[in-house]
Subunit: 188 residues, 2 copies
DNA sequence: CCTACCGATCGGTAGG
DNA sequence: CCTACCGATCGGTAGG
């Protein structure tokens, strides 16, 4: 009746609403209108679902960053990174929410893999900011803090952005870009 | 042996590390070296502890905002709001973490009270940004998005700022202020 | 996909 | 502060 993908999608929705530990396998089974035991013919464990969700969100973020052409200017690359980040959050809001909120409940070895992917993602932002400072189009006292500032402003949007609201993702990205670019723009 | 405050403080630490649903009353009792049942002579329920933690964090944020003199310039008021916010996060990192992460697990009537306090807090930021735009020292396409941008950048710091790290809260506040003020500064 | 069931643990109470 | 215990529910398995 259901594929593993269906089950993981529903799990993503429930985990994002109630948290990983606040969602039971029977809660999930009820939504799918099957018995709890049936889930185990599709997935190995509850944690496997969390892993699939979190890892797929990481895939999406990294794919968006990888699509940014490296030969563009720092301003343009940052603009695309910001747009791509917000676009992933808007398209995959439940997955992104679980990614930000629940990844810590993975067992240590899986958690470590997510940390590495998250660090790799942050490096895309760090590099573009450092390149901009070097080339004189950006300024910042500390590139690390500036990177965390930008990513903080972006990450938290999963808490308040609603894809069905009156603010479109394009409008949000445009305004966020105006604010971020100004915060980093070199004087003169 | 233990006061209610002691118990709630430990609960704040555990909830911030493992989540509300990921922490059992027996986990908490073990840290305090008592039996699980003993906790109930100090607190009414697990949820009461969550409420105490979340509500106290709200107290701290609102108190910091209320301490900002209303007759200062928008730039100065925003500077103080940013500093105050980061200061609360640094001083009360476990409480702030639970506030941001676990408030949704309160029952509806308590959750509603937190929402109202959070909205009142956001209004402090919204007003100062609108005042700045009106007076011509700030610019933003949409004051609401600008407010959420600033608060997003601030809120997420609980995820990465460590009070025992090499970056002090004063350094962080100063750099955040430089970035935020530039993001809003009117041209010319 | 089901029924039936496992041991462990959950938040919480009774009674001292 | 304790022992003893409650019913409910947890993630997961056996076997079909």
């Amino acid at each position: 009746m259901y594929t593993k993908t269906d089950i993981v999608n529903i799990a993503g929705k429930l985990f994002s609403e109630r948290g990983y530990h606040g969602t039971s396998m029977r809660d999930l089974a009820k939504v799918l209108a099957v018995r709890g035991a049936t889930l185990y013919s599709h997935v190995e464990s509850k944690e496997e679902m969390l892993w699939e969700i979190v890892n797929r969100a990481a895939d999406e973020f990294l794919a968006a960053a990888a699509a940014v052409p490296q030969d563009s200017s720092p301003e343009e690359r940052l603009r695309l990174l910001v747009h791509g980040h917000l676009d992933v959050i808007a398209r995959e809001l439940p997955y992104a929410t679980v990614f930000f909120h629940e990844w810590q409940f993975l067992e240590p070895s899986l958690r470590e893999q997510i940390k590495e992917r998250r660090d790799a993602y942050e490096q895309h932002f760090r590099r573009v900011i450092e390149d901009g400072i070097e080339q004189g189009c950006f300024q910042a006292e500390d590139a690390r803090v500036a990177t965390l500032f930008v990513l903080s402003a972006l990450n938290w949007t999963y808490q308040w952005f609603r894809p069905d609201g009156s603010l479109t993702i394009e409008q949000l990205a445009e305004q966020y870009n105006a604010l971020i670019q100004r915060s980093l723009k070199a004087d003169i």
